[in-house]
């Protein structure tokens, strides 16, 4: 299981700050997120970066058991 952490608009759309999900790739994880939380999260995800242990992941990035995946909407400081 990977530990997923949702932030800001992604946390609001998921209705959660995080959860543990079983997926073998980032692409599969994304599908699982949308399956669980619906189209609002799907919409927000189109603008998000998914970081695997702090490094940007692509759809084919392979996930290991202990990975932490951060779902980061576009930064908006200042």
């Amino acid at each position: 299981m990977s530990e997923v952490r949702y932030f800001a608009a992604a946390a609001e759309a998921a209705g959660s700050n995080g959860e543990s999900l079983a997926a073998t790739t980032v692409g599969e994880l994304r599908e699982l997120m949308v399956e669980r939380h619906g189209e609002e999260l799907d919409r927000v995800l189109t603008r998000c970066s998914l970081l695997v242990n702090g490094v940007r992941g692509e759809a084919d990035t392979v996930l290991a058991e202990t990975d932490v995946v951060d779902v980061l909407p576009p930064f908006a400081g200042g």
Binding site: A8, F75, A76, G77, G78
Partner: protein, 143 residues
């Protein structure tokens, strides 16, 4: 953190411009450039009057702020930098970001201060929720 970065803070308390000015001022300082970003009552992302901003941050935000300031310091020799960002609930007029850069001469101070603010806005892992007068809200950049 580099010696050229004298203050970096992500704080839930009000930001103190004077503390940042003092943090970059030494006997060798001839110029201090400062920037203050404040909460305004309107936004291109919001259809209505903004009354409150809620800033949230990634748990690594402090470390990232330090590394961004280090990077800017490394590209401006002789400059001292101080920068802080507020987190939590802010009202219109509150200070969201304070950045100061000092140098022997004004050009380097202006350039470094500008660059510091631009990299913080682009790369600091923070998010901004705008609450409008009618109670609705929008996430800046995430709509």
């Amino acid at each position: 953190m580099s010696d050229a970065v004298t203050l970096t803070e992500v704080s839930s308390s009000p930001l103190d411009l004077a503390a940042h000015l003092a943090a970059v001022s030494t006997p060798a300082t001839g110029a201090v450039a400062s920037f203050v970003g404040t909460v305004r009552d309107h936004s291109p992302d919001a259809d209505g009057t903004v009354v409150v901003l809620e800033y949230s941050a990634h748990p690594d935000v402090q470390r990232v702020l330090e590394s961004l300031a280090d990077r800017v310091a490394a590209s401006h020799e002789g400059v001292l930098l101080a920068v802080s960002h507020r987190v939590g609930t802010l009202a219109v007029g509150d200070l969201a970001i304070v950045a100061c850069a000092s140098s022997a001469h004004r050009a380097e101070a202006f350039d470094a201060c500008r660059e510091l603010v631009e990299v913080v806005k682009a790369e600091l892992p923070m998010w901004k929720k705008q609450v409008l007068a009618d109670g609705s809200h929008t996430w800046v950049g995430s709509a």
